[in-house]
Subunit: 76 residues, 2 copies
DNA sequence: ATATTAAGTAATGTATATGTTACACTGTGT
DNA sequence: ACACAGTGTAACATATACATTACTTAATAT
């Protein structure tokens, strides 16, 4: 589950702990989400968005496997 | 947890059962998500997006309580 | 050298998302 | 009147998100 949380957090100049505090979870949860091994709840995704002043698609959108090919075709 | 799933599903002319089949969950799960009593996982949100050809912000974005006021102020 | 901060990760417990089965209600068609 | 499709919802079981605690490593500062 790839995402842009780590990039956005660093751009916002926050530590994992600071982001965790602002989103109401523990640092460990943030770490696992950034590493991509977790499948976070929508509510947590939204809280991360609020803390980083982003929207869902900025941080969490991933293209479906099927439409990836169309994208490649578009780029040609 | 308000969302636009029901609207988008009806616009796509799908039943809850059809959407459930396409997203790999049961009809009950779709029903509860549409009703807003569930806090679905990101993976399920993405699968619903794929099935309805939408993006996360279209179906699942909800403004934070704090920024709601700013929005209202903007509209004045 | 030592202390401190940021981050990765493992073990264990709890809360909850989701599945399964089943029943009820509403509307529509016959 | 009956059948059926679509939906809401409840009870119970299972998987997993998330918390808690704790250990480790790397980097930086004193």
């Amino acid at each position: 589950m790839m995402n842009q949380v780590k990039m956005a957090r660093i751009q916002a100049d926050l530590t994992q702990q600071q982001l965790a505090d602002r989103t109401g979870v523990t640092r460990q949860t943030i770490s696992l989400i950034e590493k991509g091994t977790y499948n976070p709840s929508l509510k947590l995704c939204l809280n991360i968005c609020y803390a980083l002043n982003r929207k869902l698609d900025d941080l969490f959108w991933v293209q479906s496997e099927e439409t990836k090919h169309e994208k490649i075709a578009d780029e040609r």
